[in-house]
Symmetry: C2
Subunit: 201 residues, 2 copies
DNA sequence: CCACGTCTGGCACTCAGTGCCATCTATGTC
DNA sequence: GACATAGATGGCACTGAGTGCCAGACGTGG
């Protein structure tokens, strides 16, 4: 995935600082809570200025949700790569599954993020906002597939695609909430499949 | 719905001020855009102090989304009143339909709100956040229904209920987006039904 | 008329986020 | 190796949302 062009010193320091800020912030968030931690504190602890914090993260929420945009792109390209004859739901499921392989974060950290996410209103809202961006990526791809598979369907393919994408993301959200609530005991895929089954029954 | 206890002067003025702020704000939002309008401007135009604005609306977004919490309660009580033998999707659909009768806003205003909603990220996120509150209201009711109808199903009734509720709200969201995009030309119910059909196919 | 509770404006404050500028330094070039 | 340049940084000032507090005005019930 990462081209092994020799990273310059600048790029390496930037990456290091980025990670340092993220680590520091997540530690503080876990200790004191998300709302209760100010950016000044994070910056001070990370040894940078307040102003520099915003050069690495646009918002406080982005520290927690930073990889979501990237993940959206992963899902989108995975969806685009699915065989054309695969039905919509199966294709979307497979595309979402591509995340499991791409995500490097270990489960404990992921659970920590999840707990923070489902425990804080603002964070939850921003999370949903990012998922909205996923929609814009995924809907056109899926719509094209549906159009190709069934050229003269009764329902507008774009609407159908939007519905399936939003439905799938909603299921993922529910599954995520349950996964967190059960401390990761039930595998996410299983929860997702159950949710989808419940919807389509 | 409203108990006809003689409203005191205080209650009447409060209601009037509330409405005045909302009207002023919506006008300014429409003219200059949501982000571009500050609370100071709204307060000044409405003839109240900045501080008083926050005594009527907790956040700027609440001016636009104010009635959503109330609407959630309407849907919840409608859902609770549906016959026990009605299948989940039908019951939820009927409950959502109760909104059509309860909402007094005329269609043009509703379209204006919709355009604002789907045109602004923050607003959109807050909207979804409010819908999350609907979930908490609706899921227990629907779960109880599912549990009663099918005492020993494979899937956890609570999860199934959550999936259906979230799925339905997702469909409503998609339908709303399309309704706005087509300037209300296609009836919302039709779009909702199409979306649900697309999901369950 | 009086006591109480509510509403109000105003002030000061916190915190997120942005624009601007001076300074420093890694990098590529002659 | 000197040099121009582009990127990174810290600091400062500013806006805008949202909150706490307080003193004064006013509707309400006794």
């Amino acid at each position: 995935m990462t081209g092994n062009a020799p990273e310059s010193l600048r790029e390496r320091t930037r990456r290091a600082v980025h990670q340092e800020i993220a680590r520091t912030a997540m530690r503080l968030f876990a200790e004191r809570g998300f709302e209760e931690t100010t950016i000044d504190e994070v910056a001070a602890q990370a040894g940078i200025s307040r102003r520099s914090f915003f050069r690495y993260f646009a918002t406080k929420e982005d520290v927690v949700l930073g990889e979501l945009v990237e993940r959206g792109r992963i899902v989108a390209s995975a969806l685009a790569g699915r065989p054309a004859d695969e039905p919509p739901w199966a294709a979307v499921r497979a595309a979402l599954l591509a995340l499991r392989d791409a995500v490097t974060t270990d489960e404990a950290d992921e659970l920590e993020i999840g707990r923070m996410l489902y425990g804080n209103q603002t964070l939850r809202a921003r999370h949903l906002e990012k998922q909205l961006a996923w929609q814009d990526l995924l809907v056109p791809i899926l719509a094209e597939r549906i159009r190709a598979a069934d050229p003269d369907a009764g329902v507008d393919p774009e609407l159908a695609a939007a519905a399936v994408v939003v439905g799938a993301l909603a299921c993922l959200d529910v599954a995520g909430a349950w996964w967190v609530r059960r401390d990761g005991a039930i595998p996410l895929e299983r929860l997702y499949d159950d949710a989808v089954a419940a919807i389509r029954r």
